[in-house]
Symmetry: D2
Subunit: 340 residues, 4 copies
């Protein structure tokens, strides 16, 4: 960590700063330039709390505090070199295989989810997605079937053998959803719901963490850090589009985070081209691009009858289009030395 | 609601669309232009769920669906003409008075919060703010004193008579925090934590709802709608900065939402220039600008010793600066026919 | 075009609106709902100027004006069905072939550009890029070699046979740059420099138009429309990253615009993963992703010694890495039925 | 300047870096921590070109290069302590007075501009604005009257005595526009049109530089630096809204830049609440907020008949509303120790 004093900082201020550093248990190294004084902090600075750094920053005679070390540890590839591979009922995520999670935005009925699950299975996708607890912008909108939806998902799993991923929104529901689901999804709006992240740290199911639509790379990895720090090491990082000024897509799918996450972290990286674009017509090309830049998997909204879907109809592809998409995804995956 | 058919839509597709509208219980009005067919939906379309609209949008031969009506109702000034005025222990919010909430980011100790509360009281601010449950980016950072912090806040209230506003982050803590606090704060990261919003709809304390840093106007008002729809009508809307590319401030304080919220809604509007800028040096001018464009109040981070603050030291002003700020805020408020 | 009257608009206001429409030479169709009146405008509304639409919007008793037709024409696939294929010295852009433009950010010397050009040629890339007139944030920074740089580029072309793309920044330089260059580049900061776009509409060289880092899809296509409307039909559209809050890349590369541009327009689409990310370490994966989602070509910053590059050193790959990249780009292009 | 080496950088790499610094004419100071080596660069580092810094950044074994000094000089308050006050025909900008520039977006006819100018004069505003060369998104839209428009502006000046501000878009038009106008405006789309900025550095008229809608603080001040470095010291900085995801305004007016510009620079700061919001209904509150946070002036779109305005009708207020606005602006200005 490096502390840059303001121009004209006095000797007494330099000494006070050095004293504060030593009080924290670190050594210092003083560098006095022509104009500026710079104080190096020597020791394992990763143990310094961010708030301590902020206090230095807030000191009137300090210009800048530069901290090179990262605010996260367990999620980092520095901490764990090899890829985390998550195994669920024979499906491997983060290894050589590409995982595809597909299904409707919302579980609407037992028949609906079973019919879709069968098509998902047939297409070659390996995990069934579907929402029972739904985050909806307006309280008037359909909020999901709740536990009944979870039961329907379980029936669809029994029929097809596909493991289930579904969202959990409330700390009080983590135990309940864990009874039914194979993967617990954290939605974009809850990426920094720390109470929920802590609860998931104690859960015994893998977590699919969606990037907050406002989230920087550091915040995304720090959110995952909450879950790992709590004891749950099975986290998948999911890019699903960020908020920008651009209006031809619902969100701007930030594929450049894929290779950066793969370098920074050992966790599997999933891409959601459905929410990431909000446009059914470009789900396929963006899915292929995701594989091309190194994603470990996809999550795709698909429905036997998209126009009748209860939510997200705009971005949901038909299950017959899912078959076509899966064909191309398989082909491209092989080109990149992966397989489904 | 207006449905615009794609160029070249066939007669059978037009008829099918009309049938779908009639099945929902509405009448239609057909307008066939030189190139395009437009179908007007006649009746009280505000009762149509957003997901129904999405399904029309997702229909291949429909170009666009235009809905003029708003996704929220109870928060709207159309629903309630006069300003909502919230009264807490003699403090009025949303009426003629300007409310100022001030205090530290985090409750650090009994002595700290009492000392600050006394200065807040002396400055003329009328509500004490301070965090006991803290949303922190990294799990390594200090997470707040929890219930002990609430107890210290209560002591500070007993000493000064200042009502308390503090954040609640978990549905499971709403009852607990309600025992101590006079106003329940929803942080920016939880603006679309719908489980929490629903729980707050059942609470008997007013809510200070901070705008999500990614939130549009509609999403902000829709989040407030969750609380009002649940039965709690005492909601304050707080602008606290949004995420943009601009990097000289931590967030971009969007003051233009103040007059728009006042026109769209009857709820009080509060501005947070501390988080909204992340820069102590511009808290005062932005506070004055907030009053000038019509805000009903401010929330300001202040500390007896900002450099020793556990969090947000960068943006926290000293309590002695708070005295200066309050002097100017009082003066300007009077110029605008308001008072403190 | 559809005009939605405000709630409670009076009969005289409706009549006035109808008169205004008729004065513009259009017919109307009136639809009176339970609450609202909607006026359809019948005829070829694409001829109505945007400013006329704004005047309707500014009318106090008009709620909204909905215009489905697009603000551009010549660039649109509705106007021209088949792909525009641009041919330059045997290099085809926008057809079956993938074009790769490679070279340094800045032309530094005759030796430098020739040495790099030879490596570019060897790698299999087909066009040489390099800046002679440089847009630099600070006036202190190196502004490019000007005409001397153009002469060096021409020498490099003579040595290698590679056509040249280089930036033009001033209307007064269009003729000069056209003498040397095969493709005229418009930089991101000049995407809405309409004086320059008009001048390029009269030029006899193809144009590589970079998307403004603030530009919507409509604005991007409208900028291209300026050039086509001026008579120059050979325009390439180049995605090069947009400004967002995200800070792990210099810009956010918006690959989702690639398939949308291909659907909306007949013009070739190029992707610049160098400027689009600002990170040398992810240029290759993003280049492959660009091909995977349908781009017609790439522009890549490459230098024989990136650490000595005069500008953009951060994002410039070495020419030896360019060889590796080209190998993979060729392989992936074939997978997608393209070739280099 | 501080150079942070990567973890595990070798001794030879450290030595090479030190040599590069010495070759640039600077001394170094080495600080070897437990994990990292940091090299301080000693001397007047403000003379180092940004591209040199980038080359260090691009070196594989260098982690980070931290440069505290600013990329601009002449615009900085470090360079010139006292406010720049620009005087035009008795109107003072940047001193005690608040300047208000008002008028239509576009000069439409001699009668129109004279009628509006008279109202502007009556309202107490002191400068007349109006566009003769118009940057329009679509080539189909009205592009302005050109030199004829300048002549009409001059007539309006002769009638009212109001100095004129109008936009220049092309390097070739700077001389022409300078003959008519008192202030040359650079539009938001041209903020980084460096050819134009350089030409304006040689002009003998003051410049109103509008912030690019994508521009950071540093880029904005660096753009102004181009003009000052060219010899023209009379530059006004104008905040006019930035591009964000927020959609209830056309742009997001970033008032927080006002106090920061006033601290960083000696140049006058103007706010444009018309373009900055795109909403006529909030022009007044945002104008007052601009004064409250320290702006030196305003630019306001006003028209005798906004609904008939050729462009920007949405955001243009009527001249009768301008009278009301000016009354409040005068009142508030006095409260802040300013006057009109």
């Amino acid at each position: 960590m490096i502390i840059v004093m303001k121009l004209g900082a006095e000797e007494s201020q330099i000494q006070e700063t050095i004293k504060r550093i030593k009080d924290l248990g670190f050594n210092t190294h003083l560098s006095q330039g022509q104009n500026r004084t710079v104080i190096g902090v020597i020791g394992d600075v990763s143990s310094i709390e961010e708030s301590e750094v902020e206090r230095f920053r807030a000191t009137p005679y300090i210009q800048e505090v530069i901290r090179v070390s990262k605010p996260y540890k367990f999620v980092s590839r520095d901490f764990k070199k090899e890829n985390t591979v998550i195994k669920i009922d024979g499906v491997e995520i983060g290894g050589k295989k590409i995982v595809v999670m597909a299904g409707p935005c919302t579980v609407e009925s037992e028949d609906q989810i079973i019919a879709i699950a069968k098509e998902v299975k047939k297409s070659g996708a390996t995990i069934l997605r579907g929402g029972a607890f739904k985050p909806r912008t307006s309280p008037k909108d359909f909020q999901g079937l709740g536990e009944e939806g979870l039961k329907f998902l379980l029936k669809a799993k029994e029929e097809t053998g596909l493991p289930i991923v579904t969202e959990v929104m409330d700390t009080r529901d983590v135990a309940l959803v864990s009874e039914y689901a194979d993967i617990l999804q954290v939605g974009t709006r809850n990426m920094q719901n720390y109470a929920l992240l802590k609860e998931l740290g104690k859960a015994d199911k893998p977590v699919l963490l969606k990037r907050g639509m406002w989230s920087t790379l550091k915040e995304f990895l720090s959110a995952a850090e909450y879950i790992l720090a709590g004891g749950n090491e099975n986290v998948m990082l999911c890019e699903r589009g960020i908020r920008t000024f651009s209006d031809f897509t619902r969100n701007t799918l930030d594929l450049s985070i894929v290779p950066v996450l793969k370098a920074e972290s050992h966790l599997p990286v999933i891409v959601d081209p459905s929410h990431g674009t909000g446009r059914r017509d470009i789900v396929k090309p963006m899915a292929l691009a995701a594989i091309a830049c190194g994603a470990d998997g996809l999550t795709i909204e698909a429905h036997t009858n998209p126009q009748k879907a209860i939510s997200d109809a705009d971005q949901t592809i038909s299950t017959s289009d899912l078959h076509g998409l899966m064909g191309e995804v398989k082909y491209i995956s092989r080109m990149f030395g992966r397989e489904i």
